[in-house]
């Protein structure tokens, strides 16, 4: 009712291109089904009914990297798994973002030894780090909302 009064017969809305594209990207970001260890269980809890992730657009986890935009690295990345993480990241089409969930993905966590990559940012570039061992689902949701703010703040210069 209201919008027709303003538009009249034209049906044209002007808006900045960046805002529209960023709004679309942030409201329907599909994560890849990539849970490694204990943080994956908290990610599943966040996906389930109590802390619902589908209100943030993440209704489905896509098993295939070719159909997803977000990689939530949930869990510890071992030396054997690091090339696999990199290959999955390379297979995701741009635009893509990475959330390092938990202490082990951010900095190696309590496992400061030969077998764990000390922070997944040695393997893939990370946008948001979420701390906790494991982080509560609310903390993960806070991380996702931070990522949404970051995406909404992107400009044309960042895309090119």
């Amino acid at each position: 009712m209201g919008i027709e009064q303003k538009l009249g017969n034209l049906g044209v809305v002007t808006y900045r291109l960046e805002d529209v594209v960023n709004w679309g990207r942030s409201n329907a970001m599909w994560p890849i089904l990539f849970g490694l260890a204990c943080c994956a269980i908290e990610m599943m809890s966040a996906q389930a009914a109590h802390y619902d992730l589908s209100r943030y657009g993440m209704e489905l986890n896509r098993p295939s990297p070719r159909q997803s935009d977000l990689m939530i690295v949930a869990g510890r990345v071992s030396r054997k798994m690091a090339p696999v993480v990199r290959r999955l990241y390379d297979q995701m089409p741009a635009p893509k973002w990475v959330i390092a969930m938990g202490d082990c993905a951010s900095c190696g966590g309590i496992f400061n030894n030969y077998a764990i990559v000390q922070g997944v940012d040695e393997v893939v570039p990370v946008d948001v780090y979420v701390a906790g061992c494991p982080p509560r689902p609310e903390a993960l949701i806070d991380g996702i909302m931070t990522l949404h703010e970051k995406v909404r703040g992107e400009t044309l210069k960042d895309w090119a």
Partner: protein, 173 residues
């Protein structure tokens, strides 16, 4: 108690000089077995109808550095009909010439021995499946040995943040 005595008696009758020592610690019985006789002892324990140790719980190895012989392999056996746990322990001097594999007695032993070789380096004769399981295929060394370093990296605190961040291999796009 009777069953313990039965075990040691049977082993002593059939395979003399196998048991080097009997250790009782915290209600657990450990038999130290001579390395050449370990396969016969295990076969006797498994196939004998009264003893019936039909379940192999675990095979694990110890690095006893700086003692010599350096490695010890423990077999945790369990007899289901008699509800009795027993540990057999052999000392291994050369990790490349370890005890014979128990894969023909308890098939799970093949799988458990793969882990021992991967992480500790004790080779089991007759086990053709020994390969890198936990570590990447081109890894050198056996991490659980005492002379293998833990491999930790220096922790980034606020006073050394910049210098460590400069050395850390961050990923490119």
């Amino acid at each position: 108690m009777e069953f313990e005595q039965l075990v040691t008696n049977k082993i002593g009758e059939n395979i003399p000089d196998a048991i080097e020592e009997v250790v009782e610690f915290r209600n657990e019985r450990t038999l130290l077995i001579a390395p050449e006789k370990i396969k016969e002892v295990c076969r006797l324990l498994k196939t004998d109808n009264e003893l019936a140790f039909n379940f192999l719980s675990d095979v694990c190895a110890d690095d006893l550095l700086p003692d010599f012989p350096r490695f010890a392999v423990n077999y945790h056996l369990y007899s289901m009909p008699n509800n009795y746990r027993l540990r057999l322990r052999t000392l291994v001097e050369d990790p490349d010439a370890g005890p014979p594999t128990m894969g023909d007695l308890w098939p799970i032993a093949t799988w458990l021995e793969m882990e021992v070789w991967d992480l500790m380096g004790v080779r089991f004769e007759g086990n053709t499946h020994l390969r890198r399981l936990f570590l990447p295929e081109d890894w050198q060394g056996h991490p659980l040995r005492k002379d293998y370093p833990l491999g930790y990296e220096e922790v980034q605190f606020s006073f050394n943040w910049e210098e460590i961040a400069a050395r850390k291999p961050f990923a490119k796009e």
